[in-house]
């Protein structure tokens, strides 16, 4: 499969460059996984193999680490990962209504992704914005005092950004 090979080659170059920057040690694994995840929205078994090769560890080690961390698990994710805080203060502030609005707007449940590959919806543990809940993260960006209405606006803004990138 030519496309996969191309991707693997690209990935190997990228991972090697990262290792160059971060150092050859095992401690580069999490930053590498974070980077791969950010760019490809998944860490598939071939990527794990590549990372393992470059770091000279067993692919099972890569899998074991990736599966441990909420932000690194290998499964495919949308371009925008929406993580809604489910913890107490955000619950008090109305996170359930925001959750319903997101589910309706996206047409998927939690831990699911939209068919167009744009969105994944997840619960997060407290994201440190408890004084301004309900809070959610869209990738690295935090949004606070989210209402069902602003939740829909956030989704719309992501769609617009994706469309702008396409066109």
């Amino acid at each position: 499969m030519a496309t996969t090979t191309l991707k693997q080659e690209q990935l190997r170059t990228d991972v090697e460059a990262l290792v160059e920057k971060l150092g050859p040690g095992r401690s580069s694994l999490i930053p590498i996984l974070t980077d791969v995840k950010r760019r490809f929205h998944e860490v598939d078994s071939e990527s794990m193999q590549t990372i393992a090769d470059v770091l000279d560890i067993h692919p099972v080690e890569v899998y074991s680490v990736a599966s441990f961390y909420a932000f690194l698990h290998g499964a495919p994710e949308g371009q925008f990962v929406i993580r809604l805080c489910g913890t107490l203060s955000c619950d008090f502030a109305g996170k359930d209504a925001v959750a319903d609005a997101l589910k309706n707007e996206l047409g998927v449940g939690f831990d699911e992704s939209t068919d167009d590959g744009l969105f994944t919806l997840e619960w997060a543990s407290c994201v440190g914005m408890c004084d301004q809940g309900p809070a959610l993260l869209v990738n690295d960006q935090v949004h606070t005092r989210v209402t069902p209405e602003t939740a829909r606006e956030i989704v719309a803004a992501c769609r617009a950004a994706a469309a702008a990138e396409e066109g």
Binding site: F71, L88, D91, G128, C130, D131
Partner: protein, 398 residues
């Protein structure tokens, strides 16, 4: 970072600390005196466990090793805690100053700040501050002209795991492994990152260090109580009119705190996050202090209309998700407690089952490998104890 600036509260002492005054004072002292100075302040760790900072530094300083590290714990995962985010946004220099003093005291040439993935948006800011400090001769070689004093700071990122706030799990994570807590001993001060002696301190602890060196230990001891010296930042959220980050001296009663934040009608407050305790209104005369209710500073106000079992359920959902699963009591115990709460909500929890789960909770508190399993039963058990009436009344037989 508009969202962060929105965090309200009262005036913070950190606003009044002169830049680099602490570092300059520290560099005028002998290295051995640095540890004694911190010891003399009676500063206790602000991350939750309250270990005396001077003692921790003293252990690490006494180790002979070519390489040592000081790590700033910016994992801030305890539910209801956000004061470290505010400190890192507004007073990052103080934190780095504290790290630099720590590096000098213990003999480390590298500091690492471990920042939770949820705070990735703070990373560029922290890197800018570090870069500026390098440019100003506050990091790098021969800092502030002190011959042979080399120290630098790196930012490392977490990846979404509450347990990585536990210091040995944090170190595992930094080394590129699953964030599973280690057995102790050895303690990190003896064998931490890459087996080298390592001090792990909370963000706020390090900022306090800088303030103490700037203003003196006597000044610090004018705040607080005999056993809990100084002031503390509290992250206050939930059912109150003015949530935010507040500074209070140790020893403040819950009643006065609630007065300040507009939460006087509360039926309970959860102190210390999910791993803390739930205090019913009849105990609001109690104080926040190491000798009464110790805490890393999370205060979640629970309003009169809330179902106390929803609170227990929310925290147990959290622990079921966040347990690393290494040890059996923690892996299974949180699930069992959650099951009990769900049954209690329906008024269908058999007394024998409840008794067995309470026992299991007690076992977890003593037999778990790390603080997560040792503390996750606290909220559940304190709610059962403090809200007996509310819970029992739900039983179908009642």
């Amino acid at each position: 970072m508009a969202t962060t600036i929105e965090t309200k509260g009262n005036a913070l002492t950190y606003e009044t600390i002169e830049a680099e005054a602490g570092l300059k004072a520290a560099l005028a002292m002998s290295r051995a005196d640095l540890v004694d100075f911190v010891r003399d302040s009676d500063l206790k760790g602000r991350g939750g466990a309250g270990f005396p900072t001077g003692m921790k530094w003293g252990f690490c300083a006494a180790e002979k090793a070519d390489q040592k590290y000081i790590i700033c714990n910016a994992d801030e995962g305890e539910p209801g805690t956000f004061k470290d985010r505010v400190i890192l946004t507004r007073f990052a220099d103080l934190v780095f100053e504290g790290m630099t003093i720590g590096g000098r005291a213990i003999g480390a040439s590298l500091g690492i700040i471990y920042l939770r993935a949820e705070y990735t948006y703070l990373r560029p800011h922290l890197n800018e501050v570090i870069q500026a400090r390098r440019g100003a001769g506050l990091l790098g070689h021969n800092i502030l002209g002190v011959e042979g004093f080399d120290f630098d700071i790196l930012v490392a990122m977490g990846a979404g795991a509450y347990v990585c706030g536990e210091e040995t799990a944090l170190i595992e994570s930094l080394e590129g492994f699953r964030g599973e807590p280690r057995n102790r001993p050895p303690f990190p001060v003896v064998a931490g990152l890459l087996n080298n002696p390592t001090v792990v301190n909370n963000v706020e602890t390090l900022a306090s260090v800088a303030a103490i060196f700037a203003k003196g230990t006597d000044w610090f001891k004018t705040f607080g109580t005999d056993k809990s010296t100084g002031y503390k930042l509290f992250s206050i959220s939930g059912d109150c009119e003015k949530p935010g980050v507040y500074e209070f001296p140790w020893g403040i009663t819950l009643a006065s705190l609630l007065e300040e934040v507009g939460g006087t009608g509360a039926k309970a407050v959860q102190i210390g996050g999910a791993s803390g305790v739930c205090v019913p209104a009849r105990d609001f005369t109690r104080a926040l202090a190491f000798e009464d209710i110790p805490t890393g500073g999370s205060v979640m106000v629970i309003g009169a209309d809330r179902d106390i079992l929803d609170v227990a359920e929310n925290f147990l959902d959290f622990f079921v998700e966040e347990s690393c699963g290494q040890c059996t009591p923690c892996r299974l115990g949180n699930v069992q407690m959650l099951e009990a709460v769900k049954l209690l909500k329906k008024g269908e929890c058999p007394p024998e089952f409840l008794a067995a789960v309470k026992d299991l909770g007690g076992t977890m508190q003593v037999a778990s490998k790390c603080g997560l399993g040792q503390t996750s039963p606290s909220a559940f058990l304190s709610i059962l104890e403090g809200f007996d009436d509310e819970i029992a009344n739900r039983a179908p037989s009642a």
